[in-house]
């Protein structure tokens, strides 16, 4: 298989996905969707990692993707548990209601 797709195209896709994830974090008020947008951003970073690993010809980028996946799995487990506790206490998960620390 010939490699005819330049690295910059992969980086452009990764860039677009990352920006859309950042936009999702900023415009949505449902914490579950904010969480999903964070996953989207992590995924975009992973894509850039793998693209660079391929173009440099070293496996280190793929190893970092492996670690990012592990950390994001742990993060999702803890984050969703926190969302469940907040729902139990406040009976809603709207992020605008999380203002108990506001002075």
């Amino acid at each position: 298989m010939t490699q005819i797709i330049p690295l910059s195209w992969y980086l452009a896709v990764s860039m677009l996905l990352f920006s859309m994830g950042a936009l999702g974090v900023l415009i949505r008020r449902n914490p579950l969707i904010i969480f999903m947008s964070i996953e989207l951003m992590l995924n975009a970073a992973n894509l850039a990692f793998v693209a660079f690993a391929r173009s440099f010809g070293v496996p280190t980028g793929q190893i970092f993707v492996f670690f990012v996946m592990t950390v994001s799995a742990a993060e999702v487990a803890v984050g969703l548990a926190l969302i469940i506790i907040i729902f139990r206490n406040k009976h809603s998960i709207d992020v605008d209601l999380m203002n108990s620390l506001k002075g």
Binding site: M1, A51, R54, P59, A73, A81
Partner: protein
């Protein structure tokens, strides 16, 4: 025109469209399904890039485990149709402007260094998948052995943390 180019363009379109679907969908379950589609397309990108291990890990960990956890919580909380909240009026336009600034900034950096990345983007014509997998495994279990072991401790800590967080206290009444 090579088939990889056509495949790349279709995949990129699907990836961006599913990310847009995640941003605009009202129903949380639909958003989660859009995200699954996005993860699947990114997994095919990994296959195109000659990283079959990462592609399969992507499908099993992200599209499998993580998204099932998400769907489980969505259905547990009944959060698929939240009432539309009244938010700050300037939040949406400001967010769109900030995201556009981020995109333009990243695009500027990318095109400024296009020459550099073009030089990098000429790897060997064909990649031996078996050899690549072997070198990945060798690097992971020699040079990165300690971080690999630390991730297992991280997962254990996360598991214990989740159990402690969601456990009901003894005196607490049933909700």
């Amino acid at each position: 025109m090579d088939y990889t180019l056509i495949l790349f363009i279709i995949l990129a379109a699907v990836a961006v469209a599913s990310a847009a679907g995640l941003l605009v969908s009202r129903n949380t379950v639909y958003a989660a399904l859009f995200l699954v589609l996005n993860f699947a397309t990114v997994a095919v990108f990994y296959l195109l890039l000659g990283a079959p291990f990462i592609a399969l890990a992507q499908v099993t960990i992200y599209a499998g485990a993580i998204m099932v956890l998400f769907l489980f919580v969505i259905m547990l909380l009944g959060a698929d149709k939240l009432p539309k909240a009244k938010g700050l009026p300037w939040q949406r336009p400001l967010a769109i402007v900030l995201a556009a600034v981020l995109l333009v900034e990243a695009g500027f950096l990318l095109f400024q260094r296009l020459q550099l990345t073009a030089n990098l983007a000429s790897p060997e014509a064909s990649i031996n998948t078996t050899e690549a997998l072997q070198s990945l495994a060798k690097t992971l279990f020699s040079q990165y052995l300690l971080p690999f072991e630390v991730t297992s401790v991280l997962l254990l800590v996360a598991m214990i943390g989740v159990i402690v967080l969601t456990k009901k206290e003894k005196g607490e009444q049933e909700a």
